[in-house]
């Protein structure tokens, strides 16, 4: 039995336990209703003390920057600070939307992330289905062990490996390519950038993403498979009619949640893979905002904030939409 299977079993018993608790009539709610809010607050003061450090952290590093989003509507001045800078209205948002870079940057963001989603979403499912059919547990464990490993590598190392191995001049990957076609391929050039980005991501995350599906497959009743075999169903038909339907709920949930995250992933990797030659396809909203703020002659903090805010708003809408869908379709939700 592999690690994920054991864990699911443990996790699932935990779930049963909590549901059992929820179903059991407990005396607590009645008692709670009869005590006043003031008493309850006074009784729980120690819990609030425990909450002080994380709440202070959130206020300083998550909520204060959120308050700083108003810079998008202000002419930011370093000496006057966030609150003191004069209002500028929608100037910077309009500047971005009417900029000649607006459509290319938006297009690049959508294409890159959509490509990654479409290409990378089905693969962990296939990997899990195949692994689940392996009979030798030693072989299965070895495959899992090796394919999880790249998940633990940093994005700098990943991009470093890509730069070194795929380099047009010295990269090992280009040796057979040059032999066959006569010229090397520039894997970071405008033609190949998206493929390199997406498939290096596949290399890094496939094994890890398969874990959750393997856990769901571990819950399939073996008797279903036995019965289907007696009826003469081959492996492929059993995978199609038994395994796939059983992981469908988790698949739908993950798909919807991934769609909600579609604009928010991969900034650091894109930044690391960006070269002056491939900006026509690699400039996404985040990198453009970053460039405006930190890589231009005069740092335009307000304009950069407006660009970031544009993305934050679309992301928020997408996440809420995805969550609503998840609730409707899969009866699951994030909150």
């Amino acid at each position: 039995m592999s690690a994920p299977q054991q864990v699911t079993r443990r996790v699932l018993t935990g779930v049963e336990r909590t549901t059992a608790e929820a179903l059991e009539p407990s005396g607590a709610p009645e008692r709670r209703r009869s005590t006043s809010l003031g008493t309850r607050l006074r009784r729980s003061w120690q819990l609030y003390v425990l909450l002080i450090p994380p709440v202070v952290y959130c206020v300083l590093f998550l909520y204060w920057p959120m308050y700083g989003l108003q810079l998008a509507f202000k002419d930011f001045n370093l000496t006057k600070g966030i609150t003191g800078s004069p209002w500028a209205g929608f100037k910077y948002v309009e500047q971005f939307v009417s900029s000649y870079l607006f459509w290319p940057v938006l297009w690049n963001t959508i294409v890159l992330n959509l490509y990654a989603l479409v290409a990378l979403f089905p693969l962990p499912i296939i990997l899990a289905l195949l692994l689940n059919q392996v009979r030798s547990s030693k072989f299965r464990k070895t495959v899992q062990m090796i394919t999880y490993a790249p998940y633990f590598i940093s994005v700098v190392v990943l991009v470093g490996i890509v730069l070194m191995l795929f380099s047009p001049n010295t990269g090992i990957v280009n040796v057979p390519i040059r032999e066959l076609t006569g010229q090397p391929i520039d894997f970071l050039g405008p033609d190949m950038f998206r493929h390199t980005y997406v498939w290096s991501g596949a290399w890094q995350t496939l094994g890890y993403s398969a874990i959750i599906y393997l856990a769901a497959l571990a819950g399939v009743d073996p008797e279903l498979h036995e019965a289907a075999r007696v009826d003469g169903a081959g492996v492929l038909r059993r995978m199609w009619h038994i395994d796939l339907p059983s992981i469908l709920p988790v698949t739908i949930t993950l798909l919807i949640l991934n769609m909600g995250q579609i604009l928010t992933t991969g900034f650091e990797k894109v930044l690391l893979m960006q070269t002056p030659l491939n900006t026509s396809v690699s400039q996404v909203i985040d990198t453009y905002s970053f460039q405006v703020a930190f890589n231009s002659q005069i740092p335009q903090y307000s304009y950069a904030t407006a660009i970031g805010l544009f993305k934050s708003v679309i992301s928020l809408v997408l996440i809420l939409l995805a969550n609503w869908l998840a609730r409707r379709v899969a009866k699951q939700s994030l909150f």
């Binding site: 300083l60 059919q133 009979r135 190392v157 492996v235 930190f294 934050s312």
Partner: protein, 296 residues
């Protein structure tokens, strides 16, 4: 009862093992290649003679790395950020996760939502930078440790863990014995939390070891750079920078230029090895974290 495999099933199993083997080799190959190249001679790399195993085995690149103060500083810094970042993150997360797991906490829903809102509305890089700047943290170690210190995702995992593993009955029983919330948290809940503390330490430690962007954005001083940032700067140079690897006379520099690619491979190995060595021992915790997270 044993059912014999049909011919179709036998074919499937053979093909299946073949596909998985190819995939595994594809995942493994780049890692082996990088390690082999770092141990090969500079000429063998330049002539692209290295395919799988080291050609002209030597550990020159590593002795160069060890002789370079920048790289050593980077490594030591990363160890520091990893340990301290893991502790800060875990403390914040366990406190938050435990408190919002308690059904009897007044305003529990609002507080949970307070932690979740930042995952919905991301402030983005620029406002966070301005805030870090206004706090006077630029170019300090705090700028690397604090801005990403706590992950809301981990708080939710931790909350789920407590809901599952520290049942209400336990709390009721402790209350009957006169235990306060502090007593219960430190004497009962915390000793039961070893698995979730391990998950948190590993998540945060890995994130700090692998992190480079905070250091890149908030600090300038090379004394503060973690190893990933040192590696990133090394990779960004197409020409060898003598200052980076210790200076010397011209012939030395030319010799070192040949060494440059090799040095990059060695640096990649050094930056990726610690998590890969730790990983077989800790992977079950990551699997657990991923699965609890998927529950909710």
């Amino acid at each position: 009862m044993k059912i014999r495999d049909t011919a179709g099933d036998r074919t499937f199993h053979v093909v299946n093992v073949a596909i998985l083997s190819v995939f595994t080799i594809l995942v493994l190959y780049p890692l082996i290649f990088v390690v082999s190249a770092s141990f090969s001679s500079a000429e063998a790399i330049a002539n692209q003679e290295v395919y799988l195993w080291p050609v002209g085995f030597n550990a020159e690149a590593y002795s160069t790395v060890l002789a370079s103060p920048n790289l050593i500083t980077g490594f030591v810094n990363s160890v520091f950020y990893t340990v301290v970042g893991a502790i800060i993150g875990t403390v914040l997360t366990v406190l938050a996760g435990y408190a919002i797991s308690r059904d009897d906490l007044p305003f529990r829903k609002s507080l949970t939502f307070f932690f979740l809102i930042p995952t919905l509305v991301s402030a983005g890089i620029v406002p966070t930078y301005i805030v870090v700047r206004q706090m006077g943290l630029l170019d300090t170690r705090w700028a690397i440790l604090l801005p990403g210190a706590m992950s809301v995702f981990n708080v939710i995992i931790t909350r789920t863990f407590y809901k599952m593993n520290v049942p209400n009955e336990m709390l009721e029983a402790a209350r009957v014995d006169g235990a306060s919330d502090f007593n219960f948290f430190f004497r009962v809940a915390l000793p039961l939390s070893k698995p979730i503390i391990a998950v948190n330490l590993l998540f945060y430690g890995l994130a700090q070891w692998n992190g480079w962007f905070s250091a890149f954005l908030y600090t300038n001083s090379p004394d503060l750079a973690p190893i990933q940032l040192v590696l990133r700067e090394l990779l960004a140079q197409s020409q060898v920078n003598p200052a980076m690897i210790g200076g010397g006379d011209v012939s030395e520099i030319i010799k070192r230029r040949e060494l440059f690619d090799k040095l990059k491979y060695a640096m990649i190995v050094i930056a990726m090895i610690p998590p890969l060595i730790a990983y077989p021992f800790v992977q079950k915790h990551f699997v657990k974290g991923a699965l609890i997270g998927s529950l909710k």
